[in-house]
Subunit: 151 residues, 2 copies
């Protein structure tokens, strides 16, 4: 499918309808993809912060940059029509959709905390980074507690 | 699970083993998440380039920035141990693993073409952006043709 629509773009041909407009399922898969990418970087940073692996300043700084780049993309995936899906399970809580201002504030906090961590990672050592990292973790948790359904 | 390990990070407690080191499954989910995020942005840009929706220069430029930010993350997800999985299907072709230099060259091309598109999106109009967008599409396709198994 992906190959088909990329080829379609190349040739300027008609492409499948699901490419023409983002569907609710696309949005759920998009935000879930971003969460996976955030987790991948965040968990490696956590291993360094918790001294479960050696601290690599360059690697930590790159991963911090990735969090700061990914965080602003998240909110876009929570679009109208992606509240629920028959085909793609989502744990987005119903409250999210009628408390959108609060949700957007929490997303903004995540952006700010990841940006602060990325900046700190340019000069701080592991001990100096721990509080910045903790604030990013708290920003994740604050939103999960309110707007992610329990397992 | 995610909540548990974030809380673990906050409290400095032991966290589940799967957080402590990236597993092959984590890597597959990471790279698949990135592909979804790339597709989300790329397909919207394709709709504008193909005039299936109105061209919004600011939106296109933001999406081009997202592609340029996501592209360099992709290669990291193709780590040893993520060639195959019992639990997470992957379409990564076996050739990828013993033609890694060639694969890395294609990843580098994707980085360069997405960076060029993001730069062009700052000043070019839709017609001016079409060739840059086409080169990104070709960079995607070049790698899919070699290293992604057919549907």
């Amino acid at each position: 499918m992906k190959k088909a629509w990329i080829l379609g773009v190349l040739l300027g041909l008609a492409v499948p309808g699901w490419v023409m407009a983002a569907s609710g399922d696309d949005a759920i898969e998009y935000r879930q993809g971003l969460f996976r990418a955030l987790k991948w970087n965040f968990s490696d940073m956590g291993a360094m912060i918790q001294e479960r692996k050696p601290f690599d300043a360059a690697r930590f700084a790159q991963e911090a940059d990735r969090l700061a780049a990914l965080a602003p993309m998240l909110g876009e995936g929570f679009i109208k029509g992606s509240e629920k899906s028959e085909t793609v399970p989502t744990r987005a809580a119903s409250e999210l959709w009628y408390q959108r201002d609060r949700f957007d504030q929490l997303m903004q906090q995540l952006e700010e905390k990841t940006a602060a961590l990325a900046e700190a990672a340019k000069h701080e050592d592991r001990d100096g980074l721990r509080p910045y990292f903790g604030q990013v973790a708290q920003a994740c948790k604050a939103c999960h507690d309110r707007y992610r359904e329990r397992d």
